[in-house]
Amino acid sequence: MSKNLPDKAIMTVDNLSWQVDQLSILKQISFDLMPEEVVGIIGPNGSGKSSLLKCIYRRYQDFTGRVSLCGKPTEDYQQRQLAKNLAVVSQEPESNFEIKTIDIVRMGLVPHKGLFEFDNKNDENKLSQALAKVDLLNKSEQLFSSLSGGEKQRALIARALVQEPNIFLMDEPTNHLDIQHQIEIMQLIRQLGIGTIVTMHDLNLAANFCDRLILLNNGEIVVQGSIEEVLNSEHIAKVFEVQVRVDKNPFSQLPQIALNYHQSGREG
């Protein structure tokens, strides 16, 4: 899946640490993101994956260290400017109000539109193109809540596309999806050709669709690098406390993790 990437990083995370009430959530995280690169962040529950994304898009602002976009620290961006560069795709919470899919996607225009501006023909075209790209054009008038899990994720990706960002931040986009839709969403992310940081739980999916992986545990980077460097039985056994065997996927020749589902206790 790796390809020749331009060598200038579009995002740099440098020595990022974040704590809440003396409790360290993230510790000295550093990594780069290249254009069009898909970087997967993996790790057990509570390892700090989502918190890291939230620090990057400044949902949490009281971290130390620095996050830079195209060489400029994120603290120097206004929140709206940041939203033009970074699009976040996370699980949409259940709303008390029914909203149409087209209106969910239309929200992607918000960072680009002034308060006194009306939507124009160009905006409508943008919405149609984004919906077409995620194959939801025929469902634009349906209620968002009536879409399937995979369709909902695609609608959120369409909203992110309308933002026209340089970087996608995706928080577990394949959660609660069946295997067909997991593959479909990850293929879509790859096709977009936008620098993406994606948190994931499915290690085999991460192996097949990410260019690089970052393995987090207790808020620290255990290892980062190529799929082969990160996904070995030693790292996985240590971080997830499970017995694993790493083979090769017969189709992609990339690492494939087999778990021992009948291990006794959490002995690694």
Binding site: S90, S95, F97, K100, D103, K113
Partner: protein, 334 residues
């Protein structure tokens, strides 16, 4: 997309026509029967007819019915818009100016002005405004740092509402029977005493509020889906929410100062409008305003024509219709 836009435009045109038609029909209904033709003639001619009966009809229409019909329309529009926006920014389908204590605060302010300072006119408006804004400020202070958590904000609002209602009951308790009776009637809402010169202030505030809501329509729509999404899209969620609460408080307070407390409109009209045109604020705001106007015009018609030679308080009619609507809504809800 175009089909939906077309449907929305049809609704808007129908609603505008309904408002105009409601105003015209409501003019001819009342204790003195005035035919539609006569009402229409009066409306578009100087009421200086030589025939004394025509002159009386025109005087009733121009001096009594039209101001109260327009006040009803403004009230319905303002309370419905405030309800819609409060429901949106708190993501709570039960939110309305009453839930946050805005109405209680405004009523307390107005009642205090009436009784403690024997105020009339501008004093009552000032009292209601102060009360409405005080309720929001108290809510923000009590919520403290939790002001950013919608659920805690709502609970603070409910607590404030009860507290202010208790103060109002205390004032009523210590009032003389005559004053208490007139206060009770005032609190139940009425368009009875609406004059032309009363219309300007509510109209200006409701229009200003509606314009503010329209300007922030995109942001408010996003907040409906969650603060996380709104923040990620660059929206200053907390400042917006507090600002919108203040606008709603001022709008409601001015209305309460003029017509008393009228419940349920702010709660139910937004739900009906959403059912018709969807949730996005850019679609539903105008429909809510127009529907609120039509509804309140007809509530007023019912209030003044249901019983012979007697005008029912508006609050009773809206609450009665509102509760029936609520039962239906609960029944429909899966």
């Amino acid at each position: 997309m175009h089909q939906s836009l077309c449907k929305q435009n049809i609704y808007t045109i129908l609603m505008i026509m309904s408002v105009i038609l409601s105003v015209l029909l409501a003019m001819s209904i009342g204790s003195l029967d005035i035919s539609l033709t006569d009402s229409f003639n009066c409306l578009f001619s100087e009421h200086t007819s030589s025939k004394s009966s025509d002159s009386l009809a025109c005087t009733i229409i121009w001096e009594i019915r039209l101001p109260r019909i327009l006040m009803a329309a403004i009230t319905g529009a303002g309370l419905s818009a405030a309800g819609l926006i409060l429901q949106s920014v708190t993501r709570n389908p039960l939110a309305d100016p009453y839930l946050f204590g805005i109405s209680s605060g405004a009523s307390l302010g107005a009642v205090s002005a009436m009784t403690l300072f024997a105020g009339t006119g501008i004093t009552i408006i000032f009292g209601a405004l102060s009360g409405g804004i005080l309720s929001i400020l108290l809510m923000l202070i009590i919520a403290g740092r939790s002001v950013y958590v919608v659920e805690k904000l709502l609970l603070s609002g409910v607590a404030i509402s009860f507290m202010l209602s208790a103060f109002m009951s205390l004032i009523l308790y210590y009032s003389t029977p005559d004053v208490a009776t007139s206060l009770l009637f005032w609190m139940m809402g009425s368009f009875e005493n609406s004059q032309w010169n009363d219309l300007l202030l509510p109209a200006v505030y409701v229009l200003t509020g509606a314009v503010v809501f329209f300007i922030f329509r995109r942001w408010i729509t996003v907040i409906q889906t969650g603060d996380e999404t709104a923040l990620a899209l660059g929206i200053p969620v907390n400042q917006l929410r507090v600002g919108i609460l203040l606008v709603c408080a001022i709008m409601t307070a001015v209305i309460v100062a003029h017509v008393g407390g009228i419940g349920f409109v702010g709660l139910m009209i937004p739900h009906i409008a959403r059912y018709w045109v969807g949730t996005a604020v850019q679609r539903v705001l105008l429909t809510t305003i127009l529907l609120g106007s039509v509804f309140m015009i007809w509530v007023d018609v019912v209030a003044r024509s249901l019983l012979e030679a007697q005008v029912l308080p508006i609050g009773i009619v809206t609450s009665a219709i509102g509760s029936i609507f609520f039962f239906i809504m609960l029944k429909r809800r899966k």
